[in-house]
Amino acid sequence: MTIEIRRLEKTYRVGEERVHALRGVDLTIERNEFVAIMGSSGSGKSTLMNILGCLDQPTGGEYLLNGQRVDGMDTGRLSSVRNREIGFIFQSFELLPRATALANVMLPMLYDPRKMFGARRRARTALELVGLGDRVSHRPNQLSGGQRQRVAVARALANEPTILLADEPTGNLDSQTTVEIIELFRRLHAAGQTIVVVTHEEEVAGHAERIVRLRDGEIMSDLAASADPMHLEWRRAMGASMNEGPGTEPASREPVPTQPEPGVEPGVEEGSLS
């Protein structure tokens, strides 16, 4: 069991008022699951993600990460947990602009004494894994949006985290590169990576095995993607407008092909530099 959350609560104080961002959330995510967390703004999904990522502390309830209680940990130990267990992927990539792709990927390893020696080699391997083996010494401004997000994915993978935690990973990408990133996630998932994606795009959520929907700080539904009525409805609507797409093939727990599908091969990047 990778993540176990029980009766999780988060209350913010805004002046005199108390805002309940999470009102007792129970959630269990097993190893090698691919979970999408969805919800409108104000549903508490960002708060949940911050707590899952050990960036924030709950005001109530329990959070076990790999069997370890992380609620109530001090900031120093929490940063070490983040470093070892969580691989973050952000909507706006958050790459250091002046550092090369390689240096960006090396960043989390520099905060882990067990990983810092050989960080360069590991970073190179991670970049090759996301298909950017030939872009190691490029700076972010020399890379396309999709390539930047793949650098960020490589960085998230660098410390071999328990969970890959992606916050709207395709929010700043066009549909073509969105497909690339989703393919990359599917490939990583097939290789055994646990992935949690926070998104509001049904297209992205459809690639997950499981969709958790939040509303007003509570879990509204927690279903397999193939059984989620909202998602199926969206898929039908999409199916009407396009003949082919990620939705045509029912998303399920059946193994995802390790080989990237033709046409979206990660190593080949159109519209790269220049």
């Binding site: 120093g76 940063s79 410390n159």
Partner: protein, 424 residues
């Protein structure tokens, strides 16, 4: 924490590299920011370098005068003004002999007396010529050996001979022949045989010399016979300092010995004040060092104000930097950087910024010192910046970085990663 400490050197290196990158990316801003530090360090380097030059100059002047010299003369203590006059306390030849025999730290000595006399040669009369009465040791103590003829001898002194040694300037001024030895001069009406010639020695500039005139050196006894009431003093040369005995110790011993011998000879009781005084160059050098120390401290005070202003500039720019790079800080924290490490990173940046300013300041200060060395007739040709000044300047710059970088670094370390990542 322990294991994180192992990564500290690597992280420090990375922080230094990133700090240099930041500075390079914001060259103009960094230069303007560190201007206070640059000016402060440059001025302290220039002041220290200049003082070093002054010290070298003064020491050289003293060296010319002779660092191993001691002078002894008679004085009337204030409370004995009514009972003693100057003639009663005047040092005399007997005391010179006593000192020469019984003061082990006095290597050699000569009594001296001096008078402006009228000197007439065959063709010219000069008034106010410096006529000095000495013992033969004078040649050694003043390091003025004859270049022609012979020096003053014990025989001249013992027999009160009317002989003189003149300097080469006197040959010109008195229009003597190029080999004046064997010729005669009239000194206050008495006939003196010229027995030798010494070179004219330039008096050190700070003692008002430079335009050296004619000098006549005659036996002390002869001088006293002619002018019994002129002032008398002893000029002594102290023994050489050794590895076990510094010049300070030698001169302290010499003074103690002299005092003991003189007091005993003059029969002074335990409560009586000295009726003589003495001076050594050593103490003058110490005085100069004290003055130099005061100047250095004063300059230090001025510089510390400039460093304070510079430090505030650093703090300001580091606060700007922290706020500009809020997202980066948030990212680093999300990726697992503990708060203390973020603090160290920003502290290192402030220190690097200050030290870059310090290095520029040192370079400018060095430049100023080098330039002042090249000014002709300016007493700073020995100016130079000692190594300790450079180390001190860098240490001060680093200290300013640590002190004024602390607040921004703490601010960065305390940032909440969620808010930081949301920062626009």
């Amino acid at each position: 924490m322990m294991s994180s400490l192992l990564t500290l050197p690597l992280l420090l290196g990375q922080s230094v590299a990133s700090a240099l990158g930041q500075i390079w990316a914001n060259k103009v801003r960094a230069t303007l920011t560190t201007l206070g530090i640059i000016i402060g360090v440059a001025s302290v380097i220039a002041v220290i370098g200049g003082l070093q030059g002054m010290r070298g100059y003064v020491l050289k002047e003293f060296e010319q005068l002779g660092a191993r010299k001691m002078w002894v003369w008679g004085t009337v203590p204030d409370e004995l003004r009514n009972t003693l006059n100057y003639a009663d306390v005047r040092v005399h030849v007997g005391e010179a002999r006593l000192l020469g025999e019984h003061a082990p730290s006095v290597e050699t000595l000569t009594p001296m007396t001096q008078l402006g006399g009228d000197v007439r040669s065959a063709s010219v009369t000069k008034t106010g010529v410096d006529v000095r009465g000495v013992w033969p040791a004078w040649h050694d103590i003043e390091d003025r050996q004859v270049v022609r003829g012979r020096p003053i001898t014990d025989g001249d002194v013992d027999n009160r001979l009317q002989v003189c040694v003149i300097n080469d300037k006197a040959i010109d001024e008195l229009r003597l022949s190029s080999d004046p030895v064997g010729g005669f001069l009239l000194v206050n009406g008495r006939r003196f045989l010229i027995v030798g010639v010494v070179e004219t020695k330039d008096e050190p500039g700070i003692f008002g010399g430079g335009e050296s005139e004619s000098e006549l050196i005659i036996p002390f006894s002869t001088h006293k016979m002619m002018n019994p009431y002129t002032g008398t003093w002893f000029m002594t040369r102290l023994t050489e300092p050794t590895s076990e005995r510094t010049m300070d110790e030698v001169s302290a011993d010499a003074q103690a010995e002299t005092r003991f011998i003189m007091r005993k000879n003059r029969g002074l009781g335990a409560d009586d004040e000295d009726t003589f005084d003495m001076a050594v160059l050593q103490s003058a050098i110490q005085q100069f060092n004290q003055v130099a120390g005061v100047i250095t401290a004063g300059a230090g005070a001025v510089v510390s104000i400039s460093l304070l202003v510079g430090g505030i500039g650093i703090m300001n720019i580091m606060l700007v930097s922290v706020s500009e790079r809020t997202r980066e800080i948030g990212l680093r924290k999300a990726l697992g950087a503990p708060p203390w490490l973020v603090l160290v990173q920003f502290l290192v940046e402030a220190v690097v910024l200050c030290m870059v300013g310090g290095l520029i300041g040192i370079a400018i200060g060095q430049g100023l010192v080098e330039a002042s060395k090249r000014i002709p007739n300016f007493p700073l040709e020995h100016a130079g910046v000692p190594g300790w000044a450079i180390v001190l300047a860098l240490a001060f710059s680093a200290g300013v970085g640590v002190i004024f970088g602390m607040l921004p670094a703490i601010k960065a370390a305390q940032l909440n990663p969620i808010d930081a990542l949301r920062h626009e």
